[in-house]
Symmetry: C2
C-alpha cells in the first residue's frame, strides 16, 4: 500500500504526506487537470501556483497517435514537461458521458503503467446519482470486479493504484463499496461520480456520499474527491476527510468567463471590482480584465491562484485547529452549502471519533456550532460525572459560590460543567451573549441529563435573561432543582 503519513488532524480533516514515485505530496491539495491537447496554462508553470501534483487523462493520450507514441517513448512526464507526481484518469469520464470507450480496463491499466503514471485509475463505472438502487448496485459490482482485476495487474512498489468508490447516492452502497475496496487494498480512494451533485448544488447529498464512503474505509486511507475543484467547498470536504481534489474548473470556468472566489463565482462581465490580490488582479482593473484579448488565460490564472489560496487557508486552519470555524464561515456562501453544514452535523458522532480533543479556542458561529463534535463529546462525558450535595449552576458570577458544595458554570451550547474546567478546551469557548434557540436547547438538555444522572444532589440554577427557553420550565419542575429567575434589568 501507499505511504500516507498523517501529521495533523482537525475534525476528520488532516495534513498528510503521500509518497509517490515522483515525490512526496502534502495533502490536502488540489491537482490541476491538464488537458493533453489544449493547455491554457503549461504544466511547467503549475508549481508557481502551488501545485504539488497534476492530473491528466491517459485515455485521451492513448487515443491520439502522436500523444501515445511520445508518451510510450519518452514517458508521461516528458510529454507534459513536468517532473513532479502525475495522476492519470482512465477514460471513465468519457464512459459516463458517451456510454462507451474504445479501451478495456486491462489495456488502460497497462498503458498507464507503461507511460510512468504516478497514480493510475482503473476503468470504473461512474454511476449517475439518480439511477435506481439496482442499477447503482449493478454498476458498483462491475466497478469492484474491474478494480480487483486492476489490483492484480499492478505490482506494488511502482505506480500507485486508485480504487474509486461508487454507489451513487445510496449510502449503504457507498459504504459497502468502500469496505470491499478497502479489503482489496488500494493506494488512493477516489470518491467517484460526485460532479452531478455539485453541478446541481446538492451539497447535502455530497456530505452523505463522503461520510458514508469514509465510514467504509480505514481512517488513514488517502481520499480523492474526484471532480471537485471549486474552492467554496474545500473546507467542508476536507473536514469530512478528503485529501485530494482536482480542478478542471479553473480552465472550464475561465472559458465561460467565470471568475472563481472562495465565496462563489462571478461572471467577469458583472465585476466592477476584483476582490482578489493575485498577480492577475493586481495587474488589471475589472474593466481591463473583461476587455483583455487573453481574458480566458487571465481568468484561468486567477482561478488557479484562488484555488490554491483557499487550500492554504484550509491547511492553515488544520494547523491552528479551527477548521470547523472555517467550514461554518464558508458554508454561508450559499444556502445549499448551509444545508450541507446542517447535514454534516448529523455525522457529529463519527466526527467526534476523529476529532482531536483539544484545539484552538472554540468559536461559536451559529446554530450548527451547537452540534459540533466537541459539544457531543461533552454530552457523552456527562455520563462519567458524579456530583453530590448542593450544587450551584450559574450563568453569571455571583458571590454565593461558598454556600454550595459544588459550583458549575452554565454556558450554551455546552450546558453545565464544573467550574475548574472553565479555562479548559472546549469550555473556554468564545460564545455569544444572546444564544440561538438551538444552542440553549442543547445546553438545557445536557443540564437535565446531568440532573437525571445525579438525582441525589440538589441544584440551584442562577439563570440569565437572555437564556430564556421553553426547557427552563422542564428543569424547574424537577424536584431537586431550583431555578432562580434572571435579575431584572
Amino acid at each position: 500500500m501507499s505511504q500516507f503519513d498523517i501529521t495533523h488532524k482537525d475534525a476528520a480533516g488532516r495534513i498528510g504526506k503521500l509518497t509517490t514515485p515522483h515525490g512526496v505530496v502534502e495533502t490536502p491539495t488540489v491537482m490541476p487537470v491538464i488537458n493533453p491537447n489544449i493547455q491554457t496554462i503549461k504544466p511547467s508553470e503549475m508549481k508557481e501556483f502551488g501545485a504539488e501534483i497534476l492530473i491528466t487523462n491517459s485515455y485521451i493520450i492513448y487515443r491520439k497517435d502522436e500523444l501515445r507514441e511520445k508518451a510510450l517513448k519518452d514517458g508521461l512526464h516528458a510529454l507534459l514537461d513536468y517532473d513532479g507526481p502525475i495522476m492519470t484518469d482512465s477514460g471513465s469520464f468519457q464512459l459516463s458521458v458517451y456510454g462507451e470507450v474504445e479501451v478495456t480496463n486491462e489495456e488502460i491499466i497497462d498503458f498507464q503503467q507503461r507511460i510512468g503514471t504516478d497514480i493510475g485509475v482503473p476503468l470504473d463505472i461512474p454511476t449517475h446519482p439518480d439511477v435506481t438502487y439496482e442499477k447503482a448496485k449493478e454498476d458498483m459490482d462491475i466497478t469492484i470486479e474491474r478494480l480487483k482485476e486492476a489490483r492484480g495487474l499492478v505490482k506494488e512498489g511502482g505506480m500507485l493504484l486508485a480504487g474509486p468508490v461508487q454507489g451513487a447516492t445510496y449510502k449503504d452502497l457507498r459504504e459497502e463499496c468502500a469496505r470491499e475496496l478497502s479489503d482489496v487494498g488500494f493506494d488512493v480512494y477516489p470518491f467517484g461520480a460526485v460532479v452531478p451533485l455539485m453541478e446541481s448544488y446538492r451539497y447535502a447529498d455530497l456530505v452523505d456520499v463522503i461520510a458514508s464512503a469514509k465510514k467504509g474505509l480505514d481512517p488513514v486511507a488517502p481520499v480523492h474527491l474526484f471532480g471537485a475543484g471549486h474552492p467554496m467547498m474545500f473546507a467542508l470536504a476536507v473536514a469530512l476527510g478528503c485529501d485530494l481534489f482536482d480542478s478542471a474548473a479553473y480552465a472550464l470556468y475561465a472559458k465561460d468567463r467565470r471568475y472563481i472566489t472562495a465565496r462563489g463565482t462571478y461572471h467577469v462581465d458583472k465585476l466592477k471590482h476584483l476582490p482578489c490580490s493575485c498577480p492577475v488582479c493586481m495587474a488589471h482593473t475589472a474593466e481591463e480584465l473583461k476587455k483583455a484579448h487573453n481574458c480566458t488565460e487571465l481568468l484561468a490564472r486567477h482561478n488557479l491562484y484562488v484555488t490554491f489560496e483557499e487550500m492554504r487557508e484550509v491547511k492553515q486552519s488544520i494547523w491552528e485547529g479551527n477548521l470547523l470555524e472555517l467550514v461554518e464561515q464558508r458554508c454561508r456562501s450559499h444556502p445549499r452549502m448551509l444545508e450541507a453544514l446542517k447535514q454534516m452535523t448529523n455525522y457529529s458522532s463519527w466526527l467526534e471519533e476523529c476529532d482531536p480533543s483539544s484545539k484552538s479556542t472554540f468559536f461559536y458561529c451559529g446554530p450548527e456550532s451547537a452540534k459540533r463534535p466537541e459539544v457531543l463529546r461533552f454530552n457523552k462525558q456527562l455520563e462519567r460525572l458524579t456530583i453530590k450535595g448542593s450544587v450551584l449552576i450559574r450563568a453569571y458570577p455571583t458571590k454565593k459560590d461558598k454556600e454550595y458544595d459544588t459550583v458549575m458554570m452554565f454556558k450554551p451550547p455546552f450546558g453545565s460543567y464544573p467550574q475548574d474546567l472553565a479555562e479548559v478546551y472546549p469550555f473556554n469557548a468564545e460564545v455569544v451573549r444572546t444564544p440561538d434557540y438551538e444552542a440553549l436547547e442543547i445546553a438545557y438538555k445536557n443540564t437535565i441529563k446531568l440532573v437525571e444522572m445525579n438525582p441525589e444532589a440538589t441544584y440551584t440554577f442562577f439563570m440569565k435573561e437572555s437564556f430564556e427557553h421553553p426547557l427552563v420550565e422542564k428543569l424547574d419542575v424537577m424536584d431537586n432543582v431550583t431555578v432562580v429567575p434572571p435579575k431584572s434589568n
Copy 2:
C-alpha cells in the same frame, strides 16, 4: 458643503463619490495612515495598493520644525510626495492619550488650511467609552463648541472640514451630537473614539454607536469611522452607512509581526501557510516571510493588500446587492462579530428605510437573516394585503391549487405570500430545507398576522415536517385555520 454623490446603495451602505480639492474619491475606501516621521511604505507607492486618499497627522507635522517648515513652504502634498487627496488629523488622538496638546483648535485649523490639507479636522475631544454620562456630555459640548469655531474659520470652497461625532457609548448623545453638527454643516462626519471599542472586541457596542450617530445625520452625509482599519469589520460598518476608514493597522500590526486577513489576524510565527495571493505571499513561503530581514515591511505590504482587497469585495457586494450576505459571512469570524450582527438586526427598521427594495437573490445565511430589512418590510406590507374567500397556504407543491380562491406560498423566514410573488424579490430567496427556529418563528408570526388582518377568509395550511414549531399550534387553534399535518415519510 462637500459634494458627495451616492451612485449605488445596499442596506445603509453605498458607493459614493466625494469631491476634494485634490480629486474625487470613490467610497467606501480606506485611507492608509502616513506617519510623517516613519514611512514603512512610501506615500507615492500607495496608489499601487488601491489607495485613493491618505490620512496623516497635522499635529505631528506642526510640532516638528523641519516638517512644519517644509509643509508651510512647499505644502503638505510636496512634503509627503503624494498628489492625491490627503486628510489630516488634528492632535485629538494625542489629546486622548496624553491629556493635553500644545496647540489650540484655532491654531491647528489655521495650520491645516495653510499646508493645503484636503480634509481638515478640528481639535475635538475623543471621549473614552466608559466615562460617566455627565463627562461624555461635557466633552461633547466642548467638541461641538470647537467644531462651530472651526466652521467659522474655514471658508467654503477650499479645505473640506470634518465634524467628529462624539458621545462615548451613550446612544442619545451620539445622535444628539450628530444632529447638532448636521445643523452646523460639515463636509465629512467622523465617528470618533471608537478605537477602544474595537480593541476590546465590543463590536456590538460599535454597532450602537454607528447606528445612533447615523440617525442624527442627513442620510447622504459622508461618514468616516475614525480609527477603523481592520478588514474584518469593513462589511459590517459599510452596511451601517460608513464610507471612509483609516488604517494605521497595516503598519502597527506589522510591527507586532501580525498578519491581517478578512477573517481575523494571525501572528506570523504561527503561520505554516500563507492564505493569500498578494505579491508578498506569492513571492514568499511562510517560513521565508518569518525569517525575512524586512519582515515588518513585507507584513505591512501584505496587510495593506488584503485591506484593499476586502474593500473591493465590499464594493462589489454593493454593486451586486448582496452586501448583507457578505456581512453575515464576515461576522462569523469571531463570536463578538456575531454579536454585532445580532445587534445590527435591532436596527432593521432603520435599515429597511435605507435599503433598496430589489436586489440580488436573497440568500438565507442563518437566524440573523430572519431579521433582515426585507423580512421586516414584508411584515409591514402584510398590512396592505387584502384576502378573501378560501385560501390555500402551502409549504410544498400540491395538485389542489384549483380548489381554492387564493393560493399562497409559505417560505421561512417570510411566511405566507401570494403565489404570483414567488419569482419576485425577495420571495425568490434561496433558503434552507430545514429552517432555524428563528426563521420559522417569524414566518409563523407573519402568517398569524395575515390571518388576524383578514379574519373573513378561511385558511388551509399544508405544512412540511421540517417546519414543525410551537407556533403551529397557535395557528391551528384559530377558528378559520386548518393545519394539514405534514405528509409522513
